[in-house]
């Protein structure tokens, strides 16, 4: 009964989702388009398009580096949103979720921000530093504009898990400390309990993202959740190609990137 997942009707499955994350403009807008296309080819269901920010305090060093590269290349929230029609033009059809910190949104203003999202056909938005308690106005606007406001939930969200899960739209991002310690150990009991509890209350697919970096992690998540979100690992695959990109050897870079993705998400 997953009624709240529509992404303007574009997401036609509610399980076994592959949700990759890239930073818009890392290392250039052109490459973001290319990476998005390759990810779609490899089965991505939703694209999280990260907006680079000067102070990404929910992100680790990998995404910080990506943000720095993108900022140096001139990326901004507005440009990232305007990149979405470009993605479409080049063939990206899966729903796009803009991942941005709150401050750039505030500077544009809530109303203008949602107008921009609408104008550029963005299907979702995720603001990692705008928790449930601070997001009411934004959530309401999102509903009005038919943009999915993606919520996050963490194991220590505690009594708020139910509340967050019940209000979730699009998909629900589980920030799970997976407790993956090696191939064999599987998920910790706590992690399983947590995911179970979230699923109980959620009317949207429950996707898990946090330090997922091997095919084994991916498989493990698929067993228990509706989707897997992969960020840093994808950035690292991009980083591995920077030298080749620098040399202008685009095809080689993309091919190698694609292989990395295939290896990561194969069944």
């Amino acid at each position: 009964m997953l009624t709240k997942t529509s992404f303007q009707g574009k997401l036609n499955k509610t399980e076994n989702l592959f949700i990759p994350f890239v930073v818009a403009g890392d290392p250039s807008p052109e490459y973001t388009i290319e990476f998005a296309l390759r990810l779609q080819e490899q089965g991505a269901d939703v694209l999280e398009l990260g907006v680079p920010y000067s102070d990404p305090l929910a992100d680790g060093p990998t995404i910080q580096r990506a943000a720095k590269r993108a900022l140096n290349a001139g990326m901004s929230l507005r440009k990232a949103i305007q990149l979405v029609p470009e993605l479409r033009k080049h063939g990206v059809e899966i729903p796009v979720v803009i991942f941005t910190y709150y401050n750039p949104v505030l500077q544009i203003g809530h109303q203008d921000f949602f107008n921009l999202l609408e104008e550029n056909g963005v299907e979702g938005v995720l603001i990692p530093d705008l928790p449930f308690e601070e997001s009411e106005e934004v959530r309401n606007m999102a509903v009005k504009k038919d943009v999915e406001f993606i919520s996050l939930v963490a194991p220590n969200s505690d009594t708020r898990i139910q509340q967050i899960a019940e209000h979730a739209r699009g998909f629900l991002y589980c920030v799970s400390s997976l407790g993956v310690t090696g191939g064999s150990s599987g998920m910790s009991a706590e992690a399983l309990t947590f995911i179970k509890k979230v699923k109980e209350h959620s009317q949207v697919p429950v996707a898990v993202g946090f330090g997922i970096s091997t095919n084994e992690d991916v498989k493990l998540v698929r067993e228990h959740a509706d989707g897997v979100i992969i960020g840093s690992k994808i950035i690292r695959l991009i980083e591995a190609e920077l030298d080749v990109i620098e040399k202008g050897q685009k095809e080689e870079a993309l091919e190698s990137f694609t292989k990395g993705i295939q290896e990561l998400v194969r069944d």
Binding site: S54, P104, D129, P131, E134, L152, S157, D158
Partner: protein, 397 residues
Amino acid sequence: MLQAFPDIKGRFGDFGGKYVPETLMGPLQELEEALDEAMADPEFQNEYHHVLKEYAGRPTSLTYADKISEHLGGAKIYLKREDLNHTGAHKLNNAIGQALLAKRMGKEKIIAETGAGQHGVASATVAAKFGLECIVFMGEEDIRRQELNVFRMKLLGAEVVSVSSGNGTLKDATNEAIRYWVANCEDHFYLIGSVVGPHPYPRMVRDFQRIIGDESRRQFLEVEENLPDRIYACVGGGSNAMGMFYPFLQDDSALVGVEAAGKGIDTPEHAATLSKGTPGVIHGSLTYLMQDDNGQITEPYSISAGLDYPGIGPEHAHLFQTKQVRYEAVTDQEALDALKLLTQTEGIIPAIESAHALAQAFKEAGSMEADETILINLSGRGDKDMATLMEHFQEEV
């Protein structure tokens, strides 16, 4: 009766709140509950005040600066001597309060961010005193500039983590401390050094710093039988100023917060958040900050490391908006001049941060009446600034 701030949502009027990753909402909730319970517990209050008195050296003196008053020829100038605190600045008041709270919550590890190292030293100090482990995040650039304070923290037993992200200064160290807290919130207490950060930090830090204003009020009434006409404090994050101002908010005293104008507020090199910034979110709180058109936080500049911060506590943003406090900005040069003047007339070498408050007060004192009074919060001593001062004054002295 003024409305009590922050409200239940952690707001000071339009400002404040909790703009943090979901993972921190639980720990912030836990903190708020523990804080409320502790502050209402007379035993906790007693312990806090006991440590302030028997360890930190409180009450700090209220010094009548007769010579500088005479020199300027206007209002009578008093100094609240936070420089006399153990470790040399007001920062310790708050570190003591939070460390006691951490212990009470059963947390045995504390995290702190630091710029010039003052809050880092205060945190390392209370960690040693209360038997806690301590990790201090500090930008790699600041580590280079503040070698002595780094050594001091290490000698106190703290681990100092070098932060290379961003420009390697306070803002980045704070980001990194928050990130570390996100990953380790289970058993770590994050000991923030100013009235910034998500709710309940701005309130908590203010309440642990209001001892400055409470004491000042009592001391001032003892010697002058009247409240000061004007009260000055420098504003970085804003903790010494909030601590001083808060108990006077409902009085007639004019309150003046002094920001760092660096090389001038019309240059790009300053840290005058209220004078030149705009509202936005930084380190979990909606407040004023320095940012570009795209909402990217920009690098501040001030000669004083403690004011070199692109944000400001949300309560200040509120007091600015409601005009309850007047905010001014003072340049590097003005602060250095005031520092030298105080040193040579009163025998007190203030921190360069505190010298910003002095400079603004000195500007205004001369045109006040002889029966008017000024209270300046001398937030810290200048020992930590000797290298900077040597560079600037070597030829003059």
